[in-house]
């Protein structure tokens, strides 16, 4: 059975990792290849640029127990193009997806849909005679809630980004990490205390 946090994120063995990688051709392929080869199951994956030129940031979610999570971390740490990797599953974090949902809605029912959109703190971004497109940002649980609410109207299409995540509080995941290793054998940087809620 899957449980969810108040932010709607599934918790059963779902691990969230943040990695900084060099923005070079084939890096995504290398990481995807590692996951395939080691039989790790990717739930969500997102790559995007950062404020630092030449460095991309990846967020990925994997179902793994604690032991496997450590090996995933260690295997990614070994990759030449991976600048840093951190498992942020145990810290306070913000986890978001963005989703666009195009739903069948005739003029007379638009208000109904807009009310739902309001409840979910989503927003309407496009309207045509017979459809409305809604944009929602949030954790998976919240998005799923809106999808369920809109389903009776008839969903024409929907699209989601991969999940992005960031730890709360003052400290960030360092793009470049120092040589440290704990007795647990995992490679990564020192653990931070949970960040404050902001």
């Amino acid at each position: 059975m899957t449980t969810t946090t108040e932010s709607g994120e599934s918790t059963d063995n779902l691990r969230t990792f943040v990695a900084y990688v060099e923005d070079k051709p084939g890096v995504l392929n290398r990481i995807a290849s590692l996951f395939r080869r080691r039989n790790y199951n990717i739930i969500a994956l997102n790559v995007g640029r950062t404020h630092e030129p030449g460095i991309s940031r990846m967020t990925f979610q994997v179902t793994a127990d604690a032991g496997m999570a450590k090996r995933i971390e260690a295997n990614l740490y070994k990759m030449v193009n991976v600048l840093s990797i951190e498992d942020i599953s145990e810290v306070q974090r913000m986890v978001r997806d963005l989703c666009l949902i195009k739903v069948n809605v005739a003029a007379e029912r638009r208000t109904e849909v807009l009310n739902l959109v309001e409840i979910f703190r989503a927003r309407a971004v496009d309207v045509s005679t017979d459809t409305m497109t809604v944009e929602i940002t949030g954790a998976q649980g919240k998005i799923q809630g809106l999808v369920d609410a809109l389903r009776p109207f008839g969903i024409v299409e929907m699209v989601q980004t991969g999940t992005v995540a960031m730890s709360r509080g003052t400290q960030g995941v360092a793009a470049r990490m120092a040589h440290t290793v704990s007795a647990g054998g995992q490679a990564p940087a020192a653990r931070r205390s949970a960040g404050s809620m902001t």
């Binding site: 080869r37 032991g67 090996r71 260690a74 070994k78 040589h179 290793v181 007795a183 647990g184 995992q186």
Partner: protein, 603 residues
């Protein structure tokens, strides 16, 4: 190509303007490379054309698989990065088996491949293969280079990655236009800096102190000596640690020679074909100190019942190996030698006299039956051959094995006292490895006596390299353990497939004539006496020689832990072996179940 034309402009002034093809070799020479193993072809031809300007010895192989195995064999013996070179497409794909082999055994190798012109990449050009895509999961790293300016840095980085941390193969794919174009170049001797590559780990001294406490408290400790002991050069410090603590040492296949087989505390190899007393000791131990090994399934048997009484200390440089197969109490991540150097001064001998006596009891007084004491029954056993080879070479030769029964017999009958003297394909189990790897091994140590020990099956996979041996005038000696079967598969068919010998009987050419066709001296031996004689003759020859040992056909390697069985659940040599009455008679005479092959007390 406009790009190439503009940069090869004869009017350009800079005296350091050289083509990428020369940058390749200048960089390799600056990195200390003297020998490369390769095969030319279209996309790598500019590099070959430039090679003659540099002090590089190129060994022309007969198949690119040979080149990658040679680079591998060279690296294992010399402890340096082995280099192989091939052209694009089929040249590159032929390297693949050797690259995968180096990956699983952690061998430092750099493969340089030609690639089609950068403008043609992705167009399915002649001999175009996406070799970096193909080798992605079997290299430590790989890279495509399409500008001459990037060649030197890419090769330097490849050497650094291949040889540091847990070593492995790195492939550098260089487009033909990058080889042809010119640029300003001067070798940059500064160390490589890769922000995302940090393979060194420092170990917490508190953890090492804890290891010393666990060692002092243990009643039944055992050390596992793996490939990491050989690679990190830890043989001496390990010996000192064992002399101080008296802890018995079991070895993995690739660890053989890392700890001297003749040492009083050496137990021998553990695992699927390990000696019975070693596997029993593993199962009974209360502390395992595993050094530079990865708890491969061939070592552990059934994981659920593996060494359940033992706490485990895992000394390993790759954190991704920690808790992968076996959960350990204390991981020590870092260089084995650095950790053992710190452990040695604080390690103390525990109260283990009872344990040592127990192991001695398991071994029995006749732990290793000296085969030469047994009466000759007129048949030649592989064990005879390898034992004889060990005696004749005083245990000092470099033995390069193929994969199969002969490989396991080698581990049982050639006792390695020195590191880097056994070259064998462990993780991948690559048939066809021995002959080319031996060529590389000979280049790794030009003065060493190098012996190939191969089966008739594996030998034929890469037998074309016989002519490479002759072209290079190498004194490599070749022992073919010829039983007319793919022996290990046949053994499994006998044991697990009700004796259905599907596709394992093998017709071979006359190996003596084959050697003769290569202008190589060759002998055939069908008895123990002939075997001893042939080995002596081959050793006396100042050049290569081949011996076709016609051994008993349906012999099996014992003891054996079947796949999925517990480590101490071993199949023993049956009384009245399959190989006829002679053996059965012998066992009655000597009141031992296992007169020839099994070396341990069979209790």
């Amino acid at each position: 190509m406009p790009k190439a034309e503009s940069s090869t402009d004869p009017n350009s002034t800079g005296p350091q303007q050289i083509p990428g093809s020369e940058i390749i070799w200048d960089t390799l020479v600056n990195l200390g490379v003297e020998t490369v193993f390769g095969y030319p072809g279209g996309a790598i031809m500019p590099a070959y054309d430039s090679m003659v300007k540099f002090p590089i010895h190129h060994v022309l192989v007969r198949h690119e698989q040979g080149a990658s195995h040679m680079a591998d064999g060279f690296a294992r013996v010399a402890g340096k990065v082995g280099v192989c070179v091939a052209t694009s497409g089929p040249g590159a794909t032929n390297l693949v088996t050797g690259i995968a082999n180096a990956m699983l055994d952690g061998i430092p190798m750099v493969a340089i491949t030609g690639q089609v012109n950068s403008a043609l990449i992705g167009s399915d050009a002649f001999q175009e293969t996406d070799i970096t895509g193909v080798t992605l999961p079997i290299t430590k790293h790989n890279v495509v280079v399409d500008r001459p300016e990037d060649i030197s840095a890419a090769i330097k980085e490849a050497f650094h990655i291949a040889s540091s941390g847990r070593p492995g193969p790195v492939l550098v794919d260089i487009t033909k236009d990058a080889q042809q174009a010119r640029c300003e170049y001067e070798f940059d001797p500064r160390p490589v800096e890769l922000p995302g590559y940090r393979p060194e780990y420092s170990t917490d001294s508190n953890d090492i102190a804890r290891a010393a406490e666990m060692i002092a408290a243990a009643k039944r400790p055992i050390i596992f000596s793996g490939h990491g002991v050989v690679r990190s050069g830890s043989s001496e410090v390990l010996k000192e640690l064992v002399d101080k603590t008296q802890i018995p040492v079991a070895s993995t296949l690739l660890g053989l020679g890392g700890f001297p087989a003749s040492h009083e505390r050496a137990l021998g190899m553990m695992g699927m074909h390990g000696e019975s007393w070693v596997n029993k000791a593993v199962q009974q131990a209360d502390l395992i100190i595993a050094i530079g090994m990865r708890f491969d399934d061939r070592v552990t048997g059934n994981l659920a019942n593996y060494a359940r009484q033992a706490k485990k200390i895992h000394i390993e440089q790759d954190p991704a190996e920690i808790n992968k197969n076996v959960i350990v109490e204390l991981p020590l991540v870092g260089d084995a030698k650095a950790i053992l150097d710190q452990l040695l001064p604080i390690a103390k001998k525990g109260d283990i006299e009872g344990w040592l006596a127990h192991i001695d009891h398991m071994k029995g007084d006749d732990a290793v039956i000296d085969i030469k004491e047994l009466p000759d029954n007129g048949k030649l056993y592989a064990a005879h051959v390898i034992h004889e080879l060990w005696k004749k070479t005083d245990g000092r030769a470099i033995i390069v094995t193929d994969v199969g029964q002969h490989q396991m017999w080698e581990t049982q009958y050639y006792h390695h006292d020195y590191p880097r003297r056994l070259v064998t394909s462990g993780g991948l189990g690559t048939m066809g490895f021995a002959l080319p790897a031996a060529i590389g091994a000979q280049f790794g140590d030009r003065d060493a006596e190098v012996w190939v020990v191969a089966g008739d099956g594996g030998f034929q996979m890469t037998a074309a390299e016989l002519s490479t041996i002759q072209q290079e005038k190498l004194p490599v000696k070749i022992a073919i353990i010829n039983n007319g079967f793919l022996g290990m598969v046949r053994q499994w068919q006998e044991m697990f497939f009700e004796g259905r010998y599907v596709s394992t009987p093998m017709l071979s050419p006359d190996f003596v004539k084959l050697a003769d066709a290569h202008g190589m001296d060759a002998f055939r031996a069908t008895t123990l006496e002939e075997a001893a004689d042939a080995i002596a003759k081959a050793r006396a020859i100042d050049g290569p020689a081949l011996i076709d040992f016609r051994v008993v056909q349906e012999d099996s390697v014992y003891p054996m832990v079947a796949t999925g069985k517990d480590l101490d659940d071993m199949i023993r040599r049956p009384d009245g072996s399959t190989e006829g009455p002679a053996v059965a008679d012998l066992s009655k005479q000597k009141h031992i179940k296992n007169p020839l092959i099994e070396t341990g007390d069979d209790e």
